[in-house]
């Protein structure tokens, strides 16, 4: 019976070979080709010139991930302490924006952050801008918020915050309450309980949250183009530009994708290994 059933997987194994493995193999081949199809390492050499883009992408993605964690962790924690009905509504409220397309929500930020946008209009109305001008002696008509790195990070945090909250929440809410009671009985105050019990036990959620925020942040191109105005190029932009944008060079694009993929996978492996170590330490 069992062996017969395992045949069910054959079509999917073939499918995976064609549509999961083969594309990556082709990408690797492309990365080592020049425009004429000959072997070259030139694409990787050229990439040296884009070191800054790598640094900027990882920097912004890390900042966004940290902010998501700092905001998302307490929110998940507090949510888990509310009544069940409150939790249900809160979960729906956090999921709901995810079901709207993220481009729509990012576009909305464009209208808010624009130099003549809603936020600047608001600041003008309440006199914040003239107050600032008086205080600093500057002559600003608006606060420039659009097309900055800050705006890009804001876009990432806004779009990916639910990806941080959901996994952390789902781990915390399943924590065994008797563990906390036991800790208190043994004399731990609430800070110690949090540090020694809740935090280590919620670590798997934190790790999967970090992955779910970091990977899309580091590879995004829509957010940086919409909120960064093309002045803050990220890895995603650089890759997109080689395939469908203004500087056609799929070989270079494949090479950059490959390097990005490897860096991300290595980061994830290291982090998960580190996480596992922590878990084991806790168990001991």
């Amino acid at each position: 019976m069992k062996n017969k059933l395992s045949r069910f997987a054959v079509p999917y194994v073939v499918w995976m070979a064609i549509f999961v493995v083969a594309p990556i193999v082709i990408m690797v081949i492309y990365a080592f080709q020049d425009a004429a199809g000959g072997f070259t390492l030139g694409n990787f050499v050229k990439m040296g010139g884009y070191g800054e883009v790598f640094v900027r992408s990882f920097k912004l993605a890390i900042i966004a991930t940290i902010i998501c964690l700092l905001v998302g962790y307490p929110v998940s924690y507090w949510m888990s302490r509310e009544k069940a009905s409150f939790q249900r509504v809160a979960m729906v409220l956090i999921m709901l924006p995810m079901w709207m397309n993220f481009l729509l929500r990012t576009y909305s930020w464009m209208t808010i952050l624009e130099n003549n946008g809603l936020l600047n209009q608001f600041f003008q109305k309440i006199g914040l801008i003239s107050l600032y001008n008086n205080l600093t002696g500057s002559d600003l008509a608006y606060f420039p918020m659009m097309n900055t790195q800050g705006a890009v990070v804001l876009g990432m945090v806004y779009n990916y915050l639910p990806f941080m909250i959901l996994p952390i929440y789902s781990v915390i809410v399943k924590l065994d309450y008797s563990l906390l009671e036991a800790a208190r009985d043994l004399g731990a105050n609430s800070v110690t309980v949090f540090r020694k019990v809740i935090l280590p036990l919620s670590l798997p959620g934190v790790l999967s949250g970090i992955t779910m925020v970091f990977v899309p942040s580091v590879s995004t191109f829509a957010i940086s183009q919409m909120l960064g105005g093309g002045t803050e190029m990220l890895l995603g932009d650089l890759i997109e530009r080689q395939f469908l944008g203004g500087a056609y060079n799929p070989q270079l694009g494949a090479a950059i994708s490959l390097v990005m993929m490897i860096i991300v996978v290595v980061c994830m492996l290291v982090m998960n290994r580190f996480g596992e170590g922590e878990e084991q330490a806790v168990m001991l």
Binding site: M1, M16, P23, E52, A254
Partner: protein, 665 residues
Amino acid sequence: MKRQQPNGFFNRFLMALVALFLYAPIFILIIFSFNAGTSSSVWKGFSLHWYGQLFHNQIIMRSVYITLLVSLLATVIATIAGTFAAIGFYAMRRRRRDALMAVNNIPMMNADIVTGVSLALLFVVFFNGWSSFAGWVNSWQSAVVLPEKLSMGFGTLLIAHVMFNIPYVILSVGPKLRQMDRNLVDAAQDLGCTWMQAFWKVIIPEIKPGIVSGALTAFTMSIDDFIISYFTAGSSTSTLAMTIYGMTKKRVSPEINAISTLLFVTVLLLLAIVNIREASMERQGERRRTAAAVPGFTRTSDGKMPVWMRVVAGAVGCGLLAVLIISGRSANARPVVNVCSWGEYIDEELITEFEETTGIHVNYQTAESNEALYSLIAMGGADFDVIVPSDYMIARLIEEDRLAELDYDNIPNFQLIGEQFTHLSYDPENKYTVPYTWGSLGIIYNETMVDEPITSWDAMFDPKYAGQVLMINNSRDALAAALLDLGYDINTTDEAQLTEAFQLLKDAKDNGVYQAFVMDQVFQKMEGGNAAIAMYYAGDYLTMLENNEDLRYVVPEEGSNWFVDAMCVLKTSQHKREAEAWINFIASTESNLANMDYIWYASPNAEALEQYPDYYLELYEEELDEELYNIMALPDEERERCTLYINLPPETLALYNDLWNRLGV
């Protein structure tokens, strides 16, 4: 976690702040969907105008249809395939299963852009292989004619969606299988079930919850996906996310707000229904548990929907089906022509008129820039028939043998084109092109935001205007501005000169001169007074002037570029006859007059160019300002200050690409 002390006021306040952060942008979108004006940040009064417009917007409705269709199909296929695969994996030996699961997890772990790009490369490689295979098959036999040209489209989009959906189905079905009692199947067979019956009557019911939740996840992922679709859908298929992305690169119309509102309300309703149902089920379950208090017995009787829930679910299903049918109506098999042009570059009534007179359906798409158009064509993602590139790009396409020679017998209106616009350097024998418009590149500035009139390209690099300048987002025009400012030829191939021009741009960028790099977003930014200076095209300046009277245009004293955009047909076109019909229609004097009036770009049609001031007088009952006419149709002595781009040798093009990439750094 239960039985904790409740949150204090402060904590709840912070949670409310996070909720506000998540919802403020959505509410702003919704509020402005009822705005009477076109602006997305200035309130002009209440109106439902944009909702009406939305249902007439074929592009949006069609992309809604594509999105729903691809998501539904991909969900169904992925759910079935994923369930079978999960069962197969379950029956395997552990080591083999773990190895296969690792492969299965790749699409989930990888960044979307890597998945999208690698799939696109696979399709490109396959299409290239296919076309040589088909060519070879067709060459030695004629019984079966294989299509030689394949391109990305709905099929590839569907494959991509199925590909990234299956892992989610496997992930939610797998655990249910492992929870299942392994002896159940044996027991069923012992009791006389055939192998098939055991499968359908035992395994499937046992793992049903996993299948359902897998299908839901898959559907959600499909609906929300943008990046993978963007790389695999090709040019003629566009999901809603892709349409929105395209729109944010142009003038954004409040129809976007209207569609977001409708989406939001739909999702809100669905979630509310699901949650009320779950809550009531939970309550019932609790009641039963306390009342009956027979452990293990409650399992059999839960999970029945109340009647009204089924009615609602049925209604939602029917509604979805109706939307599919209504919006799919336009997708029947009429003769088609796929046109790719630039944003805000045609009087859209011409499309309707052409469709009505000829019965040929026009699939009208836009590309962002010549370079982006080239990328689309070179990647094999485009199945365009007619494209409207500029002079230098036409030369490149001709050189690379990508254009088809036109049959000018089918395009009698070509005779009407002024002779100064035919047989130009990019197509000296005029075998491939029919000019569409011409004009100049210059600087647009807001009079109220600069101290003195702008006369020189210096303004584009002057730190004085830091944060106020919009640089054009394509390598050729941006480097041309720098080359002109330095006093070099815009067609130079000298690496030192180009590097110097690049350095000028780079320094200006590092000094914060550029607010953004834009193409068609320039309309909204300049009209809204969000930037002081931009470089763009004369015709588009005149469109902006209609919405903001403070704007001025200048062809700088160092000279500039003048360009011709011409219609040509791609060699891969499957609709050459329809394409030529379209070109002939657009080249007519009437079409040129309508277009000129609508997009403010000068026509190459000699009659139209001459008649336009009278046409304007008749239409608006006022004289056309001669100054405006001269900006649109540059007088000959002005035009002589400007140069046409010519195509550059491959090494220089590679240098352009490299410099352009590095500018972003």
